[in-house]
């Protein structure tokens, strides 16, 4: 590992991010967060070189990570890009990085040691199911890329998540942690924040004490593109 990254303990928002991405209880998320480190990188910082030992699983919390390979002709080629809510690294066994990884834009990763994660999922079925779902969603994303399939825009995904979080009366209680909901739909907190502000502005959603209320389900549905 190299670059000008800074490490810190994960914070309260990170528990919400884990809970949202793994669809698990707060207790499980809190347990996992105790083994997490938050790592921040500036644009183009190297996260790992090809061949470095890979001993952690990383969840992209902000920004994006680019995987690059050098071909036989010495040309650098982008293999893939992991955005918010995607994982990369080693699981279920430690290994080595198959390509170089660098940050694209200001990037924050949540890192958990592979061995620790394996031990936790063997005891916590919620975490195990959450990791399996996360991996399955990522496989879907990969297949979408290969099939050049068209999906919802980032704003559309966020609006769909809001609708799914609402009960029959259109209430979302407690109000979602925006950063967490954003990561779970593979977008940034800024995009989610702007999308929600547009709904408040038009009166489609209103803020209530510790809750959000969907005022017009039809208008919100129409915005899911």
């Amino acid at each position: 590992m190299s670059g000008t990254n800074t490490n810190s303990k994960s914070g309260r928002d990170d528990i919400a991010i884990i809970q949202s991405c793994l669809s698990c209880s707060e207790t499980s998320a809190r347990r996992l967060s105790e083994s997490l480190t938050s790592r921040s990188y500036a644009h183009r910082d190297i996260i790992a070189h090809m061949g470095d030992p890979s001993t952690h699983l990383f969840l992209v919390a902000e920004g994006a990570v680019v995987a690059e390979l050098f071909g036989v002709d010495g040309q650098q080629a982008q293999l893939t890009r992991h955005g918010p809510g995607e994982v990369f690294g080693a699981f279920p066994e430690e290994s080595s990085f198959r390509s170089g990884f660098s940050a694209s834009g200001a990037t924050r990763l949540l890192a958990v040691p592979t061995n620790k994660l394996v031990e936790m999922v063997s005891r916590d079925t919620e975490l195990a199911a959450g990791i399996a779902n996360l991996m399955a969603r990522q496989l879907d994303l990969l297949l979408d890329r290969m099939a050049a399939r068209i999906g919802l825009s980032a704003t559309g995904r966020f609006y769909r998540a809001l609708l799914q979080a609402a009960d029959g009366n259109g209430m979302i209680r407690p109000a979602p942690v925006l950063a967490a909901m954003a990561v779970s739909v593979h977008t940034t907190r800024e995009t989610a924040s702007r999308a929600l502000a547009a709904l408040f502005r038009r009166g489609i959603v209103e803020r209530q004490e510790d809750a959000l209320k969907i005022v017009s389900r039809r208008m919100l549905e129409e915005l899911i593109v």
């Binding site: 183009r44 680019v66 890009r81 999906g151 919802l152 009166g203 208008m219």
Partner: protein
């Protein structure tokens, strides 16, 4: 599945593909879904669009059919939205009595408290429309003012009402200039030279005065040291939303286009980025280049034009340049929208950094040919028109990776599938009349938003 089909058809209709949307509606069997309120509402919308584009003698019948579909969509608890549309359609179909009858019913539903409207704005705006259809114009005006006061920034909703009011007033043969007071402030695209001294009061004052005269509600542009930053600061001071479009990562852009121009600029750049409503980075993978700057400008111009069109507002370009600099080559000139100029003197002491040239390429794909690359959007569109192909796609890029072939399957008859950057470029250059986002595609380099673009009619 039906919701997905409805959405796809609605996207076609919004993009202006009126005939294609109707064909898709019929092909999916939705035209026979007599008990589905969503399908009936869409049917009304599609028939209304057809009526607007039909020869005069066919319009009344099509408007009448649209009204019929809207009336069937009305159901207990959700009657006002389809019924007010049915009332408007009856007016356009020449059935004035029926229109008055339906408008009266809508007014009763709202004023008796049986229906409140989907949002507070729509409740009151629907009441205003009913009053207008009843030819109570002063009451309608007061009611619309009250509706706007309930959601003063619901610009998209105000725009929908204004479009509807325009048509109704025209049908009634009434004066419509009073609607202008409800239109949002203009969307402004700004750009200008880099070499202005940070303490050049004359330039700053002239730019600020022009921005105050335009009074933009929305400002789009980059933040290079000099004219851009001064214009953006002035726009923020008059209360405009600031939408920053950069060619590369802010860190790169700051190094190449802000820091070399003097020590006062970086802090002003940072402050503006901090308060910007949105930040769009055209290509994070590439370093700042002249080609990247050109792409970012096209993108920002397209955004300003798109916003103005969506909100029924005016679009204005602000150009800040030495008086003797020719304006030839500014794509905005093709948009037909006004340009305001501020003449400034370049600071001879500042060293304007030379950016690497880079290369901006526009790719097209059709069913019949391999991918072809061009240096300009005009050439792309000319080649697409010549091809006569049913499916067409267009993309732009600064790097080597070509994606355009993957966009092609999402093209619809007569509509070009375009990456959002390319679609905004088409709009900025006057080569597309409408664009509509239809979703997102994932590529190894990152997601790309996909649009359908309706090409403008060729000149002549």
């Amino acid at each position: 599945m039906q919701t997905d089909a409805l959405k796809q058809i609605l996207a076609l209709a919004r993009a202006g593909a009126t005939s294609r949307a109707w064909e898709a509606f019929k092909a999916s069997g939705l035209d026979r879904a007599d008990a589905d309120a969503s399908a009936l509402t869409l049917k009304g919308r599609l028939l209304k669009d057809q009526a607007r584009h039909a020869p005069a003698h066919l319009r009344p019948a099509l408007f009448a059919l649209a009204g019929e579909a809207y009336e069937h969509a009305a159901r207990p608890g959700a009657e006002t939205y389809p019924l007010i549309n049915a009332a408007a359609m009856a007016l356009h179909a020449g059935e004035r009595e029926r229109s008055v009858e339906l408008a009266g019913k809508v007014l009763h539903l709202i004023e008796s408290g049986q229906e409140k409207g989907e949002t507070p704005y729509w409740g009151e705006a629907t009441r205003a429309e009913a009053l207008l259809l009843l030819n109570r114009i002063e009451d309608a005006r007061s009611s619309l003012a009250y509706a706007v006061s309930l959601a003063p920034q619901a610009w998209e909703d105000h725009a929908a009402t204004l479009r509807q009011f325009d048509l109704i007033l025209s049908e009634l043969g009434e004066e419509d200039s009073w609607l202008d007071s409800f239109r949002p402030a203009p969307a402004m695209h700004f750009n200008g030279i880099l070499g202005i001294a940070a303490d050049d009061k004359a330039a700053s004052n002239a730019i600020a005065a022009e921005v105050r005269a335009i009074a933009p509600g929305f400002a789009y542009g980059a933040l290079a040291a000099g004219a851009d930053i001064i214009a953006a600061e002035a726009a923020v001071l008059v209360g405009a939303e600031l939408h920053v479009v950069l060619p590369s990562d802010p860190h790169d852009f700051r190094k190449t286009s802000v820091e070399p121009l003097g020590e006062d600029w970086p802090q002003r750049f940072d402050s503006l980025l901090e308060i910007a409503d949105t930040l769009i980075i055209c290509d994070k993978a590439e370093s700042t280049s002249a080609a990247g700057v050109a792409l970012a400008e096209l993108h920002a111009m397209g955004l300003a034009l798109e916003r103005a069109s969506q909100l029924q507002a005016q679009a204005v370009a602000l150009r800040i340049e030495p008086a003797d600099r020719p304006v030839l080559g500014d794509p905005w000139l093709q948009s037909g929208m006004p340009t305001r100029h501020v003449a400034v003197l370049a600071n001879t002491k500042s060293v304007v950094p030379q950016l690497p040239a880079g290369e901006l390429k526009f790719d097209i794909a059709t069913d019949d040919t391999a991918v072809t690359s061009f240096g300009s959007l005009e050439d792309c569109v000319q080649a697409l028109r010549k091809s006569g192909s049913v499916r067409m796609a267009i993309d732009c890029r600064l790097g080597e990776t070509v994606h355009v072939k993957a966009l092609l399957p999402h093209s619809a008859y007569g509509m070009v599938a375009a990456s959002r950057s390319a679609a905004l470029g088409l709009l900025a250059s006057g080569l597309a009349s409408r664009i509509e986002t239809i979703g997102e595609m994932a590529f190894p380099e990152g997601p790309v938003e996909l649009c359908l673009a309706k090409l403008s009619e060729p000149p002549g």
